[in-house]
């Protein structure tokens, strides 16, 4: 049961208003603007038809409720059509009279509210179903009133609610599709790259966050880090590998670039290295997958040592070929990681 004829009629009537050439970015106007005048006529006619069918229906007692609910829905629909704010009167009058307006007024966005007409037109089938389901009396399919309601439904649906609603709901659908695509990217680029305790903790922090608000930063907890020492106090020697963890840190992501990591900052604890008395403590910053940081530890003789640290990626990026020790450290770290 499609009423494509009605839709064609509506689109045809749009043309005098010069709306057919609307850009593809605003299809809602074509679908929603012309309903008001025609809609009111159709609703009033539908109410009259319903009353006529019911008055002459020999099975009237068994369809009383269907008639009541249909009349109520038509009334609700009428109120909502009338309540559409900001529809310019000349355009409406010209539509109702079928004559083109002399100068079409600019049409406000608020007419999109037509899409929110709501499903006031769903009850007839559900009512019949309800009667079956709850052991109430079945509605006779051949009753005049039922036939009138089905016809009214098709007309009202096709000419009033469907065109605007479809545009409205398509826009909502597009939002949902975008949201799902963003979450997919976030989940694959961020969640699955985190350690499970990190993603759980981040989720726990975000438990009150709306699902439509995808995080752009994440807390790092006990996140393993490896790097190489590039500069060590006043001594010239460098190049020892460092392994440890970002005990607590914050990492930002770029939602416009597939949730790639951008800046990060964290507190670093490193394991005791050769020739050291204790594990080291420091700070680490990152950009993309490059890391650079500062670490302080204590040597066996008790002297404090300050060290600058960079990640393997950064070491390779700068290509520290002059430093044999650094190169060896990078190779050693990579070998230990199985690369």
């Amino acid at each position: 049961m499609r009423t494509s004829v009605s839709l064609t009629l509506l689109i045809g009537l749009c043309c005098p208003l010069h709306l057919c050439a609307a850009p593809p970015t605003s299809p809602a106007r074509v679908a929603t603007i012309p309903i008001q005048g025609r809609a009111l006529q159709l609703i009033d006619q539908s109410l009259a038809d319903l009353e006529a069918a019911f008055a002459s229906d020999p099975q009237a007692p068994s369809v009383q409720r269907l008639r009541d609910e249909t009349a109520r829905n038509l009334g609700l629909l009428r109120q909502r059509v009338l309540a559409i704010p900001g529809l310019p009167a000349p355009a409406l009058e010209s539509f109702a009279s079928g004559k083109p307006a002399a100068a079409p007024a600019p049409l406000p966005e608020s007419v999109r509210a037509v899409g929110e007409l709501n499903p006031v037109w769903e009850l007839d089938r559900q009512t019949r179903g309800e009667r079956w389901l709850f052991n109430l009396q079945l509605t006779p399919e051949d009753a005049k009133t039922v036939q009138a309601v089905l016809k009214i439904q098709a007309q009202v649906f096709g000419e009033i609610t469907q065109p605007g609603a479809r545009v409205f709901i398509q826009e909502k659908d597009a939002q949902i599709q975008r949201l799902a695509a963003q979450w997919k990217t976030f989940y694959e680029s961020v969640t699955l790259q985190e350690y499970p305790w990190e993603s759980l903790a981040n989720g726990w922090f975000d438990v009150q966050r709306a699902i439509t608000d995808i995080p752009t930063k994440q807390v790092k907890i006990l996140h393993p880090v490896s790097g190489v020492v590039t500069f060590q106090g006043r001594q010239s020697s460098s190049g020892s590998p460092i392994t440890g963890a970002e005990v607590l840190g914050l990492q930002w992501y770029d939602p416009w670039a597939g949730y790639k990591p951008t800046w990060g900052l964290g507190v670093l604890v490193t394991l005791k290295a050769e020739g050291e008395r204790s594990s080291g403590l420091g700070l680490i910053a990152s950009y993309r997958d490059f890391k650079f940081g500062y670490r302080q530890s204590r040597r066996l003789d008790g002297q404090k040592v300050d060290q600058a640290i960079i990640s393997i990626n950064l070491a390779r990026y700068f290509d520290f070929t002059p430093s044999r020790a650094l190169k060896q450290a990078v190779d050693k770290l990579q070998a230990s990681k199985g690369n």
Binding site: M1, G129, A165, I169, Q175, I176, L179, L192, Y195, L200
Partner: protein, 328 residues
């Protein structure tokens, strides 16, 4: 009127692929053919979200969850389960991921919402379009959040989802404090029948909830919303299933109390799916054999013990008990 109906299936706990619904769908097709003499003119679409859980299962272990679960009872269950050889890893982990892993849950909800949303758009093609969602077990909790998101975003503002069938409904026991299934405050889920007032955001035309009395799973913190009976139907029945266990989706689907309303909402064929016919179908149910009678007693004990227990940890303990007694 030729109705074009789409039927969406959402699976429950455990591993599932895109064929999980086939046995249930084949049964419905066969049953409709035998009852009406007509083929079932509807399209079935399985919604699979297990792949998202699977990706997480591969990144960590149950132990990783422990620092984030403060409830001593839940922790105790976890420790028992880890020590048990019979631990059904995926079932419990699925429930825990769903309940505690915010990001995985958001990923599941948005993926399924994106799959369901175009089907709701299709409903605007005309009154001859129908959409029926059938969710089972954990899938009922998933469906609740998916449909809530769609309603919240306005996808159901115009066309409500015609029928939602929740088999072994656990939406209440798996609800989260920030989004209760039906109690308030805070604002409960919009996955509820529409009140028929134009401004109401309720997402559904009709909500059906089913519980097999021999299935203890939906007994824990059972789903009992304060909704009007006009648009909400809660059905309890007793069914064994053929050699399977009473929580299985097939056990539910094969109960006349389930497939009769379900086929009605798929076909809208009121001549075939009458209350009288449903009574006749129920009378045809086979008596359980001696082997199942013994299991029935065990399950009845479990059901009595866990009936209306209020907490999530009881839900996990029940899964543990059923696993230990090989009742899956």
């Amino acid at each position: 009127m030729n109705t074009e109906t789409t039927v969406v299936f959402l699976h429950g706990m455990g591993k599932h692929d895109a064929t999980f619904h086939e046995a249930a769908w084949a049964f419905l097709q066969e049953k409709h053919q035998s009852l009406s003499g007509q083929p079932l003119a509807a399209t079935a679409i399985p919604f699979v979200y297990d792949d998202i859980f699977e990706s997480l299962r591969q990144t960590g272990s149950l132990a990783d969850l422990q620092p984030f679960i403060q409830d001593a009872g839940v922790l105790g269950v976890l420790q028992d389960l880890q020590a048990s050889d019979l631990f059904l890893y995926t079932h419990v982990l699925d429930v825990l991921i769903w309940r505690f892993h915010t990001q995985a849950r958001a990923r599941v909800i948005t993926q399924l919402a994106a799959a369901l949303s175009p089907l709701l758009v299709d409903l605007t093609e005309g009154p001859d379009r129908q959409l029926v969602v059938i969710a089972h077990s954990l899938g009922t909790a998933v469906a609740t959040d998916v449909i809530h998101l769609l309603a919240e975003q306005g996808v159901t503002d115009y066309k409500k989802l015609p029928a939602l069938h929740m088999l072994a409904n656990v939406a209440k026991v798996l609800e989260r404090p920030e989004r209760p299934a039906y109690n308030s405050p805070p604002e409960p889920s919009l996955c509820r029948p529409w009140t028929r007032e134009p401004a109401d955001k309720g997402a559904l035309q009709r909500y059906h909830s089913y519980r097999n009395e021999l299935d203890p799973i939906p007994l824990v913190d059972a789903f009992r919303p304060p909704w009007s009976g006009r648009w909400f139907q809660s059905t309890t029945f007793k069914a064994w299933g053929a050699g399977v266990q009473p929580h299985d989706i097939l056990t539910y689907i094969k109960a006349p109390e389930v497939y009769m309303p379900l086929l009605w909402s798929i076909t809208l064929d009121e001549a075939t799916y009458t209350p009288e016919r449903e009574q006749q179908e129920m009378a045809l149910g086979a008596a359980p054999n001696p082997a199942t009678v013994a299991r029935q007693a065990v399950l009845r004990d479990l059901a009595q013990h866990y009936a209306d227990k209020p907490g999530f940890q009881d839900f996990l303990k029940l899964i543990q008990s059923m696993t230990g007694q090989k009742l899956w």
